[in-house]
Protein backbone atom coordinates (compact mmCIF):
# COMPACT_ATOMS: atom_id res chain seq x y z
CA UNK A 1 0.00 0.00 0.00
CA UNK A 2 2.92 2.25 0.48
CA UNK A 3 3.46 4.99 -2.05
CA UNK A 4 7.19 4.40 -1.79
CA UNK A 5 6.83 0.97 -3.38
CA UNK A 6 4.49 2.30 -6.06
CA UNK A 7 7.08 4.95 -6.81
CA UNK A 8 9.80 2.30 -7.15
CA UNK A 9 7.61 0.23 -9.47
CA UNK A 10 7.03 3.34 -11.52
CA UNK A 11 10.76 3.98 -11.90
CA UNK A 12 11.41 0.37 -12.92
CA UNK A 13 8.72 0.70 -15.59
CA UNK A 14 10.90 3.16 -17.50
CA UNK A 15 13.71 0.61 -17.82
CA UNK A 16 14.98 -0.87 -21.02
CA UNK A 17 14.69 -4.60 -21.59
CA UNK A 18 13.20 -6.81 -24.31
CA UNK A 19 9.96 -6.83 -22.31
CA UNK A 20 9.95 -3.08 -21.78
CA UNK A 21 10.32 -2.57 -25.52
CA UNK A 22 7.24 -4.65 -26.41
CA UNK A 23 4.05 -2.95 -27.56
CA UNK A 24 1.83 -2.14 -24.55
CA UNK A 25 -1.19 -3.72 -26.28
CA UNK A 26 0.62 -7.07 -26.55
CA UNK A 27 1.48 -6.94 -22.85
CA UNK A 28 -2.03 -5.97 -21.75
CA UNK A 29 -3.60 -8.80 -23.76
CA UNK A 30 -0.97 -11.31 -22.61
CA UNK A 31 -1.61 -10.37 -18.97
CA UNK A 32 -5.34 -10.82 -19.46
CA UNK A 33 -4.82 -14.21 -21.12
CA UNK A 34 -2.61 -15.32 -18.24
CA UNK A 35 -5.07 -14.18 -15.56
CA UNK A 36 -8.01 -15.80 -17.38
CA UNK A 37 -6.11 -19.09 -17.66
CA UNK A 38 -5.21 -19.08 -13.97
CA UNK A 39 -8.62 -18.01 -12.76
CA UNK A 40 -10.51 -20.48 -14.96
CA UNK A 41 -8.79 -23.45 -13.32
CA UNK A 42 -11.33 -25.55 -11.40
CA UNK A 43 -11.80 -24.81 -7.73
CA UNK A 44 -9.87 -27.85 -6.48
CA UNK A 45 -6.94 -27.46 -8.85
CA UNK A 46 -3.80 -26.79 -6.87
CA UNK A 47 -0.93 -28.65 -8.49
CA UNK A 48 -2.08 -27.68 -11.97
CA UNK A 49 -1.27 -24.05 -11.13
CA UNK A 50 2.43 -24.83 -10.73
CA UNK A 51 3.55 -24.32 -14.37
CA UNK A 52 2.07 -20.81 -14.40
CA UNK A 53 4.87 -19.65 -12.09
CA UNK A 54 7.01 -19.56 -15.24
CA UNK A 55 5.44 -16.29 -16.42
CA UNK A 56 6.15 -14.07 -13.40
CA UNK A 57 9.55 -15.71 -13.08
CA UNK A 58 10.52 -15.08 -16.68
CA UNK A 59 9.20 -11.53 -16.46
CA UNK A 60 11.37 -10.87 -13.43
CA UNK A 61 14.45 -12.33 -15.13
CA UNK A 62 14.02 -10.99 -18.67
CA UNK A 63 12.45 -7.71 -17.58
CA UNK A 64 15.24 -7.17 -15.03
CA UNK A 65 12.84 -6.42 -12.21
CA UNK A 66 13.99 -6.78 -8.60
CA UNK A 67 12.15 -9.97 -7.64
CA UNK A 68 12.10 -8.98 -4.00
CA UNK A 69 9.77 -6.08 -4.74
CA UNK A 70 7.19 -8.34 -6.40
CA UNK A 71 7.64 -11.02 -3.75
CA UNK A 72 7.05 -8.56 -0.91
CA UNK A 73 3.84 -7.32 -2.49
CA UNK A 74 2.60 -10.85 -3.03
CA UNK A 75 3.27 -11.73 0.61
CA UNK A 76 1.00 -8.93 1.77
CA UNK A 77 -2.00 -11.05 0.92
CA UNK A 78 -5.22 -9.19 0.33
CA UNK A 79 -7.14 -9.44 3.61
CA UNK A 80 -10.35 -10.10 1.75
CA UNK A 81 -9.09 -13.11 -0.21
CA UNK A 82 -7.42 -14.48 2.91
CA UNK A 83 -10.45 -13.92 5.14
CA UNK A 84 -12.96 -15.42 2.73
CA UNK A 85 -10.71 -18.29 1.67
CA UNK A 86 -9.85 -19.17 5.27
CA UNK A 87 -13.42 -20.37 5.82
CA UNK A 88 -13.04 -23.14 3.25
CA UNK A 89 -11.11 -25.60 5.47
CA UNK A 90 -13.84 -25.35 8.10
CA UNK A 91 -16.77 -25.65 5.76
CA UNK A 92 -15.49 -28.30 3.36
CA UNK A 93 -14.13 -31.21 5.34
CA UNK A 94 -14.58 -33.91 2.77
CA UNK A 95 -11.40 -35.90 2.30
CA UNK A 96 -9.92 -34.98 -1.02
CA UNK A 97 -6.37 -36.26 -0.95
CA UNK A 98 -4.99 -39.15 0.98
CA UNK A 99 -1.26 -38.94 1.31
CA UNK A 100 1.15 -40.87 3.52
CA UNK A 101 -1.54 -41.59 6.06
CA UNK A 102 -2.85 -38.05 6.23
CA UNK A 103 -6.28 -37.02 5.09
CA UNK A 104 -6.34 -33.65 3.38
CA UNK A 105 -9.77 -32.08 3.11
CA UNK A 106 -11.07 -30.38 0.00
CA UNK A 107 -11.32 -27.13 1.94
CA UNK A 108 -7.58 -26.99 2.49
CA UNK A 109 -6.97 -27.69 -1.18
CA UNK A 110 -9.35 -24.96 -2.36
CA UNK A 111 -7.95 -22.51 0.23
CA UNK A 112 -4.39 -23.19 -0.91
CA UNK A 113 -5.55 -22.84 -4.49
CA UNK A 114 -7.02 -19.39 -3.67
CA UNK A 115 -3.71 -18.31 -2.13
CA UNK A 116 -1.72 -19.52 -5.15
CA UNK A 117 -4.18 -17.86 -7.52
CA UNK A 118 -3.75 -14.66 -5.54
CA UNK A 119 0.03 -14.80 -5.79
CA UNK A 120 -0.08 -15.51 -9.53
CA UNK A 121 -2.65 -12.87 -10.51
CA UNK A 122 -1.08 -10.17 -8.33
CA UNK A 123 2.38 -10.84 -9.68
CA UNK A 124 0.99 -10.74 -13.22
CA UNK A 125 -0.48 -7.26 -12.63
CA UNK A 126 2.76 -6.09 -11.01
CA UNK A 127 4.80 -7.59 -13.86
CA UNK A 128 2.69 -5.63 -16.34
CA UNK A 129 3.15 -2.30 -14.59
CA UNK A 130 6.83 -2.95 -13.88
CA UNK A 131 7.59 -3.50 -17.58
CA UNK A 132 5.23 -0.88 -19.02
CA UNK A 133 5.38 2.79 -18.11
CA UNK A 134 1.99 4.20 -17.25
CA UNK A 135 1.90 6.72 -20.14
CA UNK A 136 2.66 4.00 -22.69
CA UNK A 137 0.07 1.74 -21.02
CA UNK A 138 -2.44 4.57 -21.52
CA UNK A 139 -1.32 4.93 -25.11
CA UNK A 140 -2.03 1.22 -25.55
CA UNK A 141 -5.47 1.67 -24.00
CA UNK A 142 -6.24 4.52 -26.41
CA UNK A 143 -5.20 2.32 -29.31
CA UNK A 144 -7.54 -0.36 -27.92
CA UNK A 145 -10.47 2.05 -28.21
CA UNK A 146 -10.82 2.91 -24.53
CA UNK A 147 -12.60 6.32 -24.45
CA UNK A 148 -10.13 9.17 -24.64
CA UNK A 149 -11.76 11.02 -21.75
CA UNK A 150 -11.04 8.08 -19.47
CA UNK A 151 -7.45 7.70 -20.66
CA UNK A 152 -6.83 11.43 -20.12
CA UNK A 153 -8.32 10.99 -16.64
CA UNK A 154 -5.86 8.14 -15.96
CA UNK A 155 -2.93 10.24 -17.15
CA UNK A 156 -3.95 13.18 -14.94
CA UNK A 157 -4.38 10.90 -11.95
CA UNK A 158 -0.95 9.38 -12.53
CA UNK A 159 0.63 12.80 -12.94
CA UNK A 160 -0.67 14.07 -9.61
CA UNK A 161 -0.71 10.86 -7.59
CA UNK A 162 2.77 11.11 -6.09
CA UNK A 163 2.52 14.88 -5.76
CA UNK A 164 -0.66 14.74 -3.70
CA UNK A 165 0.64 11.78 -1.70
CA UNK A 166 3.48 14.06 -0.62
CA UNK A 167 0.97 16.76 0.26
CA UNK A 168 -0.96 14.21 2.35
CA UNK A 169 2.30 13.22 4.02
CA UNK A 170 2.98 16.85 4.93
CA UNK A 171 -0.46 17.22 6.51
CA UNK A 172 0.05 13.99 8.46
CA UNK A 173 3.44 15.21 9.68
CA UNK A 174 1.90 18.48 10.82
CA UNK A 175 -0.65 16.57 12.89
CA UNK A 176 2.00 14.26 14.32
CA UNK A 177 3.97 17.31 15.50
CA UNK A 178 0.96 18.85 17.20
CA UNK A 179 -0.74 15.80 18.67
CA UNK A 180 1.04 13.10 20.60
CA UNK A 181 0.09 9.47 20.08
CA UNK A 182 -3.52 8.85 19.31
CA UNK A 183 -5.01 11.83 21.10
CA UNK A 184 -5.30 14.12 18.12
CA UNK A 185 -6.50 11.49 15.71
CA UNK A 186 -10.20 12.14 16.17
CA UNK A 187 -12.55 11.88 13.22
CA UNK A 188 -13.29 15.61 13.49
CA UNK A 189 -9.64 16.58 13.11
CA UNK A 190 -9.24 14.08 10.27
CA UNK A 191 -12.26 15.57 8.52
CA UNK A 192 -10.77 19.07 8.71
CA UNK A 193 -7.51 17.70 7.34
CA UNK A 194 -9.28 16.03 4.44
CA UNK A 195 -11.23 19.26 3.87
CA UNK A 196 -8.02 21.30 3.82
CA UNK A 197 -6.46 18.84 1.42
CA UNK A 198 -9.54 19.05 -0.74
CA UNK A 199 -9.49 22.84 -0.94
CA UNK A 200 -5.78 22.87 -1.71
CA UNK A 201 -6.43 20.29 -4.41
CA UNK A 202 -9.16 22.43 -5.95
CA UNK A 203 -6.85 25.44 -6.06
CA UNK A 204 -4.18 23.31 -7.63
CA UNK A 205 -6.61 22.02 -10.26
CA UNK A 206 -7.61 25.61 -11.06
CA UNK A 207 -3.97 26.64 -11.54
CA UNK A 208 -3.27 23.58 -13.65
CA UNK A 209 -6.25 24.29 -15.86
CA UNK A 210 -5.20 27.90 -16.40
CA UNK A 211 -1.62 26.90 -17.15
CA UNK A 212 -2.79 24.25 -19.59
CA UNK A 213 -5.27 26.55 -21.31
CA UNK A 214 -2.49 29.08 -21.76
CA UNK A 215 -0.53 26.40 -23.58
CA UNK A 216 -3.34 25.43 -25.90
CA UNK A 217 -4.96 22.47 -24.09
CA UNK A 218 -7.97 21.22 -26.05
CA UNK A 219 -8.97 18.12 -24.10
CA UNK A 220 -6.40 15.79 -25.67
CA UNK A 221 -2.98 14.81 -24.44
CA UNK A 222 -0.60 14.21 -27.30
CA UNK A 223 2.25 11.79 -27.19
CA UNK A 224 5.24 11.91 -29.48
CA UNK A 225 5.89 8.19 -29.60
CA UNK A 226 3.91 6.23 -32.17
CA UNK A 227 2.83 2.71 -31.35
CA UNK A 228 3.64 0.00 -33.82
CA UNK A 229 2.59 -3.59 -33.36
CA UNK A 230 5.53 -5.49 -34.83
CA UNK A 231 6.04 -9.18 -35.57
CA UNK A 232 7.94 -9.53 -32.29
CA UNK A 233 4.89 -8.29 -30.40
CA UNK A 234 2.67 -10.72 -32.27
CA UNK A 235 5.01 -13.65 -31.58
CA UNK A 236 5.16 -12.71 -27.89
CA UNK A 237 1.39 -12.49 -27.57
CA UNK A 238 0.76 -15.77 -29.42
CA UNK A 239 3.46 -17.55 -27.42
CA UNK A 240 2.01 -16.43 -24.10
CA UNK A 241 -1.57 -17.20 -25.12
CA UNK A 242 -0.72 -20.64 -26.49
CA UNK A 243 1.35 -21.66 -23.49
CA UNK A 244 -1.36 -20.42 -21.13
CA UNK A 245 -3.92 -22.52 -23.00
CA UNK A 246 -1.49 -25.47 -22.96
CA UNK A 247 -0.99 -25.26 -19.18
CA UNK A 248 -4.70 -24.74 -18.64
CA UNK A 249 -6.06 -27.54 -20.79
CA UNK A 250 -3.40 -30.24 -20.42
CA UNK A 251 -2.32 -31.87 -17.15
CA UNK A 252 1.29 -30.75 -17.51
CA UNK A 253 2.01 -31.04 -13.81
CA UNK A 254 0.78 -34.61 -13.66
CA UNK A 255 2.86 -35.59 -16.69
CA UNK A 256 5.86 -34.04 -15.03
CA UNK A 257 5.12 -35.94 -11.86
CA UNK A 258 4.80 -39.27 -13.63
CA UNK A 259 7.88 -38.62 -15.69
CA UNK A 260 9.82 -37.58 -12.60
CA UNK A 261 8.82 -40.63 -10.62
CA UNK A 262 9.56 -43.04 -13.45
CA UNK A 263 12.88 -41.41 -13.84
Amino acid sequence: MSCYEADRLDRIAYGDSPLHRLDPRAKILATLAFILAVVSQPKYELFGLAPFILFPLLTIVIGEIPGRLIFRRVLLVSPFALLIGAFNPFLDRQVFHHLWGFDISGGWISFSSILVRFALTVSAALALIATTSFPSLCQGLTAMRVPRTFVVQLLFLYRYLFLLAEEGGRILRARALRARGWRGRTPRVAASMVGTLFLRTLDRAERIYQAMSARGYDGNIRQLRRLSFTITDGVFLVAVAVSCAFFRLLPVTYWMGRWGRDW
Binding site: V39, D92, R117, T149, L154, F156, L202, T253, G257
Partner: protein, 349 residues
Amino acid sequence: MHMSDALLSPGIGLAFGAVSGGTLVYSAHKVKTTLDDHLVPLMGVLGAFVFAAQMINFTIPGTGSSGHLGGGLLLAVLLGPHAALLTLSSVLVVQSLFFADGGVLALGTNIFNLGLLPAVIGWPLFRVTAGKKPSPARITLASTLAALCVLELGALGLVGETFLSGRSELPFGPFLVLMLGIHLPIALAEGLITAAVIGYVYKLRPEIAHRTFRGATEGRRRRSLTPVLTSLVAAALLTGGVAAWFASSKPDGLEWSLGRLTGSEKPGAAEYPLAKRLAGLQERSAALADYRVTRSEETATSGAEVWPRVDPEITLSGLAGAVFTLGLAGLLGLFLARRRRDHPKRGQG
Protein backbone atom coordinates in the same frame (compact mmCIF):
# COMPACT_ATOMS: atom_id res chain seq x y z
CA MET B 1 -13.21 -3.86 0.29
CA HIS B 2 -11.76 -4.90 -3.03
CA MET B 3 -12.70 -8.05 -4.87
CA SER B 4 -9.69 -10.20 -5.68
CA ASP B 5 -8.94 -12.18 -8.83
CA ALA B 6 -8.28 -15.21 -6.65
CA LEU B 7 -11.94 -15.45 -5.61
CA LEU B 8 -13.36 -14.76 -9.04
CA SER B 9 -14.50 -17.10 -11.80
CA PRO B 10 -13.77 -15.87 -15.33
CA GLY B 11 -17.46 -15.72 -16.28
CA ILE B 12 -18.39 -13.41 -13.42
CA GLY B 13 -15.29 -11.30 -13.99
CA LEU B 14 -16.06 -10.84 -17.68
CA ALA B 15 -19.78 -10.23 -17.13
CA PHE B 16 -19.16 -7.47 -14.59
CA GLY B 17 -16.37 -6.16 -16.78
CA ALA B 18 -18.86 -5.81 -19.63
CA VAL B 19 -21.42 -4.00 -17.45
CA SER B 20 -18.90 -1.64 -15.85
CA GLY B 21 -17.05 -1.07 -19.10
CA GLY B 22 -20.28 -0.24 -20.93
CA THR B 23 -21.35 2.23 -18.26
CA LEU B 24 -17.87 3.73 -18.26
CA VAL B 25 -17.99 4.31 -22.01
CA TYR B 26 -21.42 5.93 -21.62
CA SER B 27 -20.20 8.18 -18.80
CA ALA B 28 -17.08 9.17 -20.76
CA HIS B 29 -19.30 10.14 -23.67
CA LYS B 30 -21.58 12.09 -21.31
CA VAL B 31 -18.70 13.98 -19.71
CA LYS B 32 -17.27 14.81 -23.11
CA THR B 33 -20.53 16.11 -24.57
CA THR B 34 -22.28 17.81 -21.67
CA LEU B 35 -19.58 19.08 -19.35
CA ASP B 36 -16.89 21.64 -20.02
CA ASP B 37 -13.28 20.51 -20.35
CA HIS B 38 -12.64 22.52 -17.23
CA LEU B 39 -13.76 19.50 -15.29
CA VAL B 40 -11.19 17.10 -16.73
CA PRO B 41 -8.09 18.37 -14.86
CA LEU B 42 -10.26 18.69 -11.76
CA MET B 43 -11.32 15.04 -12.06
CA GLY B 44 -7.74 13.93 -12.50
CA VAL B 45 -6.45 15.82 -9.51
CA LEU B 46 -9.40 14.71 -7.37
CA GLY B 47 -8.58 11.10 -8.25
CA ALA B 48 -5.12 11.68 -6.82
CA PHE B 49 -6.78 13.43 -3.88
CA VAL B 50 -8.58 10.18 -2.99
CA PHE B 51 -5.22 8.46 -2.50
CA ALA B 52 -3.91 11.27 -0.32
CA ALA B 53 -7.15 11.44 1.68
CA GLN B 54 -6.93 7.70 2.33
CA MET B 55 -3.56 8.28 4.01
CA ILE B 56 -5.19 10.43 6.68
CA ASN B 57 -6.22 7.96 9.34
CA PHE B 58 -8.18 8.51 12.51
CA THR B 59 -9.28 6.56 15.55
CA ILE B 60 -12.82 5.26 15.35
CA PRO B 61 -14.40 6.32 18.66
CA GLY B 62 -15.18 3.49 21.04
CA THR B 63 -13.27 0.77 19.21
CA GLY B 64 -9.74 2.11 19.14
CA SER B 65 -9.21 0.77 15.66
CA SER B 66 -7.97 2.93 12.84
CA GLY B 67 -10.01 3.97 9.85
CA HIS B 68 -9.81 6.26 6.87
CA LEU B 69 -12.11 7.85 4.34
CA GLY B 70 -13.05 5.77 1.30
CA GLY B 71 -13.88 8.84 -0.73
CA GLY B 72 -16.32 7.31 -3.21
CA LEU B 73 -19.38 9.09 -1.85
CA LEU B 74 -17.52 12.38 -1.42
CA LEU B 75 -16.48 12.39 -5.08
CA ALA B 76 -19.95 11.35 -6.22
CA VAL B 77 -21.55 14.21 -4.25
CA LEU B 78 -19.04 16.80 -5.43
CA LEU B 79 -18.63 15.75 -9.07
CA GLY B 80 -21.97 14.29 -10.12
CA PRO B 81 -22.48 10.73 -11.37
CA HIS B 82 -20.63 10.66 -14.70
CA ALA B 83 -17.49 12.48 -13.68
CA ALA B 84 -17.45 10.58 -10.37
CA LEU B 85 -17.69 7.22 -12.13
CA LEU B 86 -14.75 8.12 -14.38
CA THR B 87 -12.68 9.39 -11.47
CA LEU B 88 -13.42 6.43 -9.19
CA SER B 89 -12.72 3.96 -12.00
CA SER B 90 -9.37 5.56 -12.68
CA VAL B 91 -8.57 5.29 -8.97
CA LEU B 92 -9.45 1.59 -9.04
CA VAL B 93 -7.30 0.98 -12.14
CA VAL B 94 -4.28 2.55 -10.48
CA GLN B 95 -4.96 0.68 -7.23
CA SER B 96 -5.12 -2.64 -9.04
CA LEU B 97 -1.86 -2.02 -10.92
CA PHE B 98 0.42 -0.11 -8.58
CA PHE B 99 -0.92 -1.22 -5.22
CA ALA B 100 -2.22 -4.73 -5.97
CA ASP B 101 -5.55 -3.77 -4.37
CA GLY B 102 -8.07 -5.82 -6.31
CA GLY B 103 -7.15 -7.70 -9.45
CA VAL B 104 -7.07 -6.80 -13.11
CA LEU B 105 -9.86 -9.19 -14.04
CA ALA B 106 -11.71 -8.09 -10.90
CA LEU B 107 -11.70 -4.47 -12.12
CA GLY B 108 -15.22 -4.87 -13.51
CA THR B 109 -16.58 -6.05 -10.18
CA ASN B 110 -14.67 -3.40 -8.24
CA ILE B 111 -15.82 -0.59 -10.52
CA PHE B 112 -19.36 -1.90 -10.08
CA ASN B 113 -19.18 -2.11 -6.27
CA LEU B 114 -17.08 0.95 -5.50
CA GLY B 115 -17.66 3.29 -8.45
CA LEU B 116 -21.00 2.60 -10.08
CA LEU B 117 -22.97 2.28 -6.85
CA PRO B 118 -21.81 5.59 -5.29
CA ALA B 119 -22.38 7.35 -8.62
CA VAL B 120 -25.83 6.04 -9.49
CA ILE B 121 -27.23 5.36 -6.00
CA GLY B 122 -25.27 7.61 -3.65
CA TRP B 123 -25.42 10.79 -5.70
CA PRO B 124 -29.20 10.99 -6.29
CA LEU B 125 -29.91 9.83 -2.75
CA PHE B 126 -27.70 12.56 -1.30
CA ARG B 127 -29.21 15.24 -3.52
CA VAL B 128 -32.77 14.31 -2.69
CA THR B 129 -32.16 14.05 1.07
CA ALA B 130 -30.00 17.15 1.40
CA GLY B 131 -32.27 19.43 -0.62
CA LYS B 132 -31.42 22.82 -2.10
CA LYS B 133 -30.23 24.73 0.95
CA PRO B 134 -28.92 22.12 3.32
CA SER B 135 -28.32 22.70 7.01
CA PRO B 136 -25.39 20.85 8.65
CA ALA B 137 -27.88 18.37 10.10
CA ARG B 138 -29.40 17.74 6.68
CA ILE B 139 -25.93 17.19 5.17
CA THR B 140 -25.08 14.73 7.93
CA LEU B 141 -28.37 12.89 7.49
CA ALA B 142 -28.01 12.79 3.72
CA SER B 143 -24.43 11.57 3.63
CA THR B 144 -24.98 8.97 6.36
CA LEU B 145 -28.01 7.62 4.56
CA ALA B 146 -26.23 7.60 1.21
CA ALA B 147 -23.10 6.00 2.69
CA LEU B 148 -25.18 3.30 4.36
CA CYS B 149 -26.97 2.44 1.13
CA VAL B 150 -23.86 2.58 -1.04
CA LEU B 151 -21.57 0.57 1.21
CA GLU B 152 -24.14 -2.05 2.15
CA LEU B 153 -25.07 -2.48 -1.52
CA GLY B 154 -21.36 -2.74 -2.28
CA ALA B 155 -21.08 -5.48 0.34
CA LEU B 156 -24.05 -7.21 -1.24
CA GLY B 157 -22.32 -6.98 -4.61
CA LEU B 158 -19.12 -8.41 -3.15
CA VAL B 159 -20.97 -11.31 -1.56
CA GLY B 160 -22.97 -11.97 -4.72
CA GLU B 161 -19.88 -11.97 -6.94
CA THR B 162 -17.96 -14.22 -4.57
CA PHE B 163 -20.87 -16.61 -4.24
CA LEU B 164 -21.56 -16.82 -7.97
CA SER B 165 -17.88 -17.40 -8.65
CA GLY B 166 -17.99 -20.47 -6.42
CA ARG B 167 -14.38 -20.35 -5.22
CA SER B 168 -15.41 -19.84 -1.61
CA GLU B 169 -17.34 -22.36 0.45
CA LEU B 170 -19.24 -19.72 2.41
CA PRO B 171 -23.02 -20.14 2.13
CA PHE B 172 -24.81 -17.05 0.81
CA GLY B 173 -26.98 -16.17 3.82
CA PRO B 174 -24.47 -16.16 6.68
CA PHE B 175 -21.80 -14.66 4.41
CA LEU B 176 -24.13 -11.79 3.53
CA VAL B 177 -25.01 -11.18 7.18
CA LEU B 178 -21.32 -11.19 8.09
CA MET B 179 -20.34 -8.73 5.37
CA LEU B 180 -23.31 -6.42 5.99
CA GLY B 181 -22.38 -6.42 9.67
CA ILE B 182 -18.75 -5.59 8.97
CA HIS B 183 -19.74 -2.78 6.63
CA LEU B 184 -22.23 -1.18 9.04
CA PRO B 185 -19.68 0.68 11.22
CA ILE B 186 -17.55 1.38 8.14
CA ALA B 187 -20.54 2.95 6.41
CA LEU B 188 -21.46 5.05 9.46
CA ALA B 189 -17.89 6.34 9.77
CA GLU B 190 -17.76 7.07 6.03
CA GLY B 191 -21.05 8.95 6.16
CA LEU B 192 -20.05 11.06 9.16
CA ILE B 193 -16.61 11.91 7.81
CA THR B 194 -18.03 12.73 4.38
CA ALA B 195 -20.56 15.03 6.06
CA ALA B 196 -17.81 16.68 8.11
CA VAL B 197 -15.66 17.27 5.01
CA ILE B 198 -18.59 18.71 3.06
CA GLY B 199 -19.50 20.84 6.08
CA TYR B 200 -15.92 22.09 6.33
CA VAL B 201 -15.83 23.01 2.65
CA TYR B 202 -19.24 24.66 3.01
CA LYS B 203 -18.05 26.79 5.91
CA LEU B 204 -14.73 27.87 4.42
CA ARG B 205 -15.58 28.16 0.74
CA PRO B 206 -19.33 28.45 0.44
CA GLU B 207 -19.09 29.24 -3.27
CA ILE B 208 -17.77 25.76 -4.08
CA ALA B 209 -20.46 24.08 -2.08
CA HIS B 210 -23.08 26.41 -3.55
CA ARG B 211 -22.06 25.44 -7.03
CA THR B 212 -22.37 21.84 -5.99
CA PHE B 213 -25.80 22.17 -4.45
CA ARG B 214 -27.17 24.50 -7.07
CA GLY B 215 -26.27 21.89 -9.65
CA ALA B 216 -28.84 19.67 -8.02
CA THR B 217 -31.72 21.80 -9.13
CA GLU B 218 -30.50 22.67 -12.60
CA GLY B 219 -32.58 21.19 -15.34
CA ARG B 220 -29.61 19.91 -17.28
CA ARG B 221 -28.44 17.71 -14.45
CA ARG B 222 -31.93 16.60 -13.59
CA ARG B 223 -32.62 15.44 -17.10
CA SER B 224 -29.39 13.48 -17.15
CA LEU B 225 -30.67 11.37 -14.27
CA THR B 226 -33.10 9.42 -16.45
CA PRO B 227 -30.48 7.73 -18.66
CA VAL B 228 -28.48 6.98 -15.54
CA LEU B 229 -31.39 5.18 -13.92
CA THR B 230 -32.21 3.46 -17.20
CA SER B 231 -28.65 2.26 -17.56
CA LEU B 232 -28.72 1.08 -13.95
CA VAL B 233 -31.79 -1.02 -14.56
CA ALA B 234 -30.28 -2.32 -17.79
CA ALA B 235 -27.05 -3.08 -15.97
CA ALA B 236 -28.93 -4.96 -13.26
CA LEU B 237 -30.87 -7.00 -15.81
CA LEU B 238 -27.77 -7.67 -17.87
CA THR B 239 -25.84 -8.67 -14.78
CA GLY B 240 -28.54 -11.04 -13.70
CA GLY B 241 -28.92 -12.55 -17.14
CA VAL B 242 -25.28 -12.80 -18.04
CA ALA B 243 -24.23 -13.93 -14.59
CA ALA B 244 -26.79 -16.71 -14.56
CA TRP B 245 -25.81 -17.71 -18.06
CA PHE B 246 -22.13 -17.88 -17.21
CA ALA B 247 -22.67 -19.37 -13.81
CA SER B 248 -24.59 -22.26 -15.29
CA SER B 249 -21.75 -22.91 -17.70
CA LYS B 250 -19.33 -23.28 -14.83
CA PRO B 251 -19.84 -26.62 -13.18
CA ASP B 252 -18.08 -25.52 -10.01
CA GLY B 253 -20.06 -22.37 -9.51
CA LEU B 254 -23.69 -21.66 -8.91
CA GLU B 255 -24.85 -24.84 -10.53
CA TRP B 256 -22.81 -26.96 -8.20
CA SER B 257 -24.31 -25.34 -5.12
CA LEU B 258 -27.76 -25.46 -6.69
CA GLY B 259 -27.28 -29.12 -7.45
CA ARG B 260 -26.25 -29.63 -3.90
CA LEU B 261 -29.34 -27.86 -2.59
CA THR B 262 -31.88 -29.53 -4.83
CA GLY B 263 -30.16 -32.85 -5.21
CA SER B 264 -30.39 -32.62 -8.96
CA GLU B 265 -27.41 -32.37 -11.26
CA LYS B 266 -26.75 -29.77 -13.92
CA PRO B 267 -29.97 -27.75 -13.72
CA GLY B 268 -30.92 -26.76 -17.21
CA ALA B 269 -27.47 -27.06 -18.72
CA ALA B 270 -28.98 -28.32 -21.93
CA GLU B 271 -30.90 -25.08 -22.40
CA TYR B 272 -27.74 -23.08 -22.91
CA PRO B 273 -25.80 -23.79 -26.08
CA LEU B 274 -22.63 -22.18 -24.76
CA ALA B 275 -22.80 -24.19 -21.58
CA LYS B 276 -23.15 -27.36 -23.61
CA ARG B 277 -20.26 -26.48 -25.82
CA LEU B 278 -18.07 -25.55 -22.88
CA ALA B 279 -18.99 -28.77 -21.13
CA GLY B 280 -18.05 -30.64 -24.29
CA LEU B 281 -14.72 -28.84 -24.43
CA GLN B 282 -14.09 -29.68 -20.84
CA GLU B 283 -14.89 -33.34 -21.40
CA ARG B 284 -12.60 -33.48 -24.39
CA SER B 285 -9.78 -31.84 -22.49
CA ALA B 286 -10.47 -34.18 -19.63
CA ALA B 287 -10.31 -37.17 -21.96
CA LEU B 288 -6.77 -36.16 -22.77
CA ALA B 289 -6.09 -35.94 -19.09
CA ASP B 290 -6.85 -39.21 -17.46
CA TYR B 291 -5.04 -38.01 -14.41
CA ARG B 292 -7.46 -35.29 -13.62
CA VAL B 293 -10.56 -35.68 -11.52
CA THR B 294 -13.42 -34.35 -13.57
CA ARG B 295 -16.94 -33.66 -12.69
CA SER B 296 -18.32 -35.00 -15.94
CA GLU B 297 -16.77 -38.35 -15.11
CA GLU B 298 -18.41 -38.35 -11.73
CA THR B 299 -21.86 -37.40 -12.98
CA ALA B 300 -21.56 -40.09 -15.60
CA THR B 301 -21.01 -42.84 -13.05
CA SER B 302 -23.40 -41.67 -10.37
CA GLY B 303 -25.03 -38.46 -9.29
CA ALA B 304 -24.34 -38.82 -5.60
CA GLU B 305 -21.54 -37.43 -3.44
CA VAL B 306 -18.57 -39.29 -4.78
CA TRP B 307 -17.16 -36.18 -6.39
CA PRO B 308 -13.77 -36.03 -4.76
CA ARG B 309 -12.33 -39.32 -5.90
CA VAL B 310 -9.72 -40.12 -3.30
CA ASP B 311 -6.80 -41.61 -5.13
CA PRO B 312 -3.31 -41.39 -3.64
CA GLU B 313 -1.82 -42.15 -7.05
CA ILE B 314 -3.22 -38.91 -8.51
CA THR B 315 -2.27 -36.95 -5.43
CA LEU B 316 1.29 -38.18 -5.52
CA SER B 317 1.59 -37.44 -9.24
CA GLY B 318 0.27 -33.96 -8.66
CA LEU B 319 2.52 -33.23 -5.73
CA ALA B 320 5.62 -34.62 -7.42
CA GLY B 321 4.72 -32.76 -10.60
CA ALA B 322 4.30 -29.47 -8.78
CA VAL B 323 7.64 -29.85 -7.02
CA PHE B 324 9.30 -30.83 -10.30
CA THR B 325 7.76 -28.01 -12.27
CA LEU B 326 8.67 -25.44 -9.66
CA GLY B 327 12.20 -26.80 -9.49
CA LEU B 328 12.62 -26.71 -13.27
CA ALA B 329 11.17 -23.20 -13.46
CA GLY B 330 13.54 -22.09 -10.74
CA LEU B 331 16.52 -23.63 -12.51
CA LEU B 332 15.53 -21.96 -15.77
CA GLY B 333 15.24 -18.62 -13.98
CA LEU B 334 18.64 -19.06 -12.32
CA PHE B 335 20.20 -20.05 -15.64
CA LEU B 336 18.80 -17.00 -17.41
CA ALA B 337 19.75 -14.70 -14.56
CA ARG B 338 23.31 -16.03 -14.58
CA ARG B 339 23.56 -15.70 -18.35
CA ARG B 340 22.43 -12.14 -18.03
CA ARG B 341 25.04 -11.44 -15.40
CA ASP B 342 27.78 -13.02 -17.54
CA HIS B 343 26.74 -11.09 -20.62
CA PRO B 344 25.73 -7.67 -19.35
CA LYS B 345 23.82 -5.51 -21.75
CA ARG B 346 25.35 -2.54 -23.41
CA GLY B 347 24.80 0.76 -21.66
CA GLN B 348 23.64 -0.25 -18.19
CA GLY B 349 21.81 2.43 -16.25
